[in-house]
């Protein structure tokens, strides 16, 4: 089961993302993002387990929720992916 992390500019946008995905049956877990991911310091993200990341990103686009980056967890490390 793949795990993804979508990062956002603020907790409010992360919460908007959580609601947007939740409304489409995609559950995400809201948390602080690891420090190395946020060059500008402090951010929030949504962790998705086993979700279709393309469907999730489409949902965010449709609802006008902007995100910063998308990562996939592979071999215990997060790798940024372009979508």
């Amino acid at each position: 089961m793949k795990q993804y992390l979508i990062t956002f500019r603020s907790v409010t946008y992360a919460q908007r993302g959580e609601r947007s995905l939740g409304g489409r049956g995609i559950s995400g877990s809201l948390s602080r993002t690891p420090k190395w991911m946020e060059q500008q310091g402090c951010g929030y993200g949504l962790t998705l387990r086993g979700a279709n990341i393309y469907r999730a990103v489409d949902a965010l686009r449709q609802d006008g929720v902007s995100w910063r980056r998308v990562y996939v967890l592979e071999n215990g490390k997060y790798q940024e992916i372009a979508l």
């Binding site: 603020s10 409010t12 919460q15 402090c42």
Partner: protein, 363 residues
């Protein structure tokens, strides 16, 4: 006590509001800062408040900025749009929360509409001033002194047609009259959380169609390495810790208002206001009522207005007397010297309240 001072704040707060605020104080830490359970609980409370407001006022949650009160929101809005020398059009019924920030910033204030309850005169002069050229407009939805409902949909349409940015002061209308952010097209709509929305004192909302300029600078919980405030709303305009218990109570208050519906709240309050006005007139008081009346009215008697309010207070009736922080409105209505006694009904308006007031006045 019979409470008829809802124009100042709603009181007493509904039990749901009290419980929500109390629970937040024992369950929620600082929102948007940590990632632990109590911090995330606080973030959830604050976001819930934004969602409730967004649903009631037809905007997005991130457009809802939490403020300390309506005055705070108006100061952000006015500071964002206007500066020294800006020509700003206002109505003749504005509160000091509008006029003082404008004068403090060196704006050139133009006034349209001085006749109480007369939409035609207001719209004529408003259009005339717009044609002559202004940099923006700020106007109230309802006069806090007289309960006069201004034709804000028409004024907004005139501003949009002229390409003039505007700010709506919804201090006396949020929760009892339709306020549709998307349809109005305002740059900003400011409102208290503690009046018609039934939240705790010290809460307010600023609905933003413009990124705005921060009034306060400081921590926002994100993008901490940046030397400037974030570009994104709402954090851009919310430096420092927000009032989490206040947001919890306000969310509960907005839920109540949405459940009751602003239309029904208005119908009850307006009905009692008009009944009260008719009875006061029969008793010989000078009553200021008209065709566009909300849930508030002013009156004058033979005695000084402060004496009337004090006498009512001693009989357990809470009303407000004086200028109500709106000297411009009194100047427009010709009541600046004497002031008025103001009665303002709330979501719980009832004939029992009207009858108690009239009995106390000797009916």
């Amino acid at each position: 006590m019979i409470y008829l001072d809802n124009g100042a704040t709603s009181f007493p707060k509904p039990p749901q509001v009290v419980r929500a605020a109390e629970e937040a104080m024992v369950r929620a830490a600082n929102p948007g800062r940590g990632g632990y359970k109590a911090a995330m609980a606080a973030a959830e409370i604050v976001f819930d408040c934004r969602e409730q407001a967004a649903a009631l006022f037809s905007c997005k949650p991130e457009q809802v900025v939490l403020t300390a009160n309506c005055t705070h929101g108006l100061n952000i809005a006015i500071g964002s749009l206007f500066g020294d020398g800006s020509r700003v059009l206002i109505s003749g019924f504005e509160h000091n929360a509008v006029t003082r920030p404008l004068y403090a910033r060196g704006c050139k204030v133009k006034i349209a509409g001085r006749r109480l309850f007369c939409w035609e005169e207001l719209l004529d002069s408003f259009r005339r001033e717009l044609r002559q050229g202004v940099d923006g407009a700020v106007f109230t939805h309802v006069s806090n002194v007289f309960g006069y409902i201004l034709p804000v949909n028409e004024m907004a349409a005139e501003c949009r047609a002229a390409g003039v940015p505007f700010v709506l002061d919804a201090a006396q209308s949020a929760g009892s009259l339709p306020v549709d952010f998307g349809a109005l097209g305002a740059e900003f709509i400011a409102m208290p959380g503690h009046k018609g929305l039934l939240g705790p004192q010290g809460t307010g909302l600023l609905l933003c169609g413009d990124p705005g300029k921060p009034l306060l600078f400081g921590g926002t919980g994100t993008l901490s390495r940046e030397k400037t405030m974030p570009e994104d709303l709402p954090e851009r305009l919310e430096a420092g810790t927000v009032n989490v218990p206040g947001a919890a109570g306000l969310a509960a208050g907005i839920r109540l208002v949405r459940g009751m519906t602003p239309e029904k709240i208005f119908a009850r309050g307006h009905g009692q206001t008009m009944a009260c006005g008719r009875a006061l007139e029969e008793m010989g008081y000078r009553v200021f009522t008209g065709p566009h009346q909300a849930m508030t009215l002013s009156f004058q008697g033979k005695a000084d207005c402060e004496e009337i309010a004090e006498a009512l207070g001693s009989r357990g009736i809470a009303v407000r007397a004086g200028l109500h922080c709106a000297p411009l409105a009194h100047e427009s209505a010709g009541t600046l010297e004497k002031g008025t006694v103001r009665i303002s009904f709330g979501h719980d308006a009832s004939p029992a309240q009207t009858n108690a007031l009239l009995r106390a006045l000797g009916a």
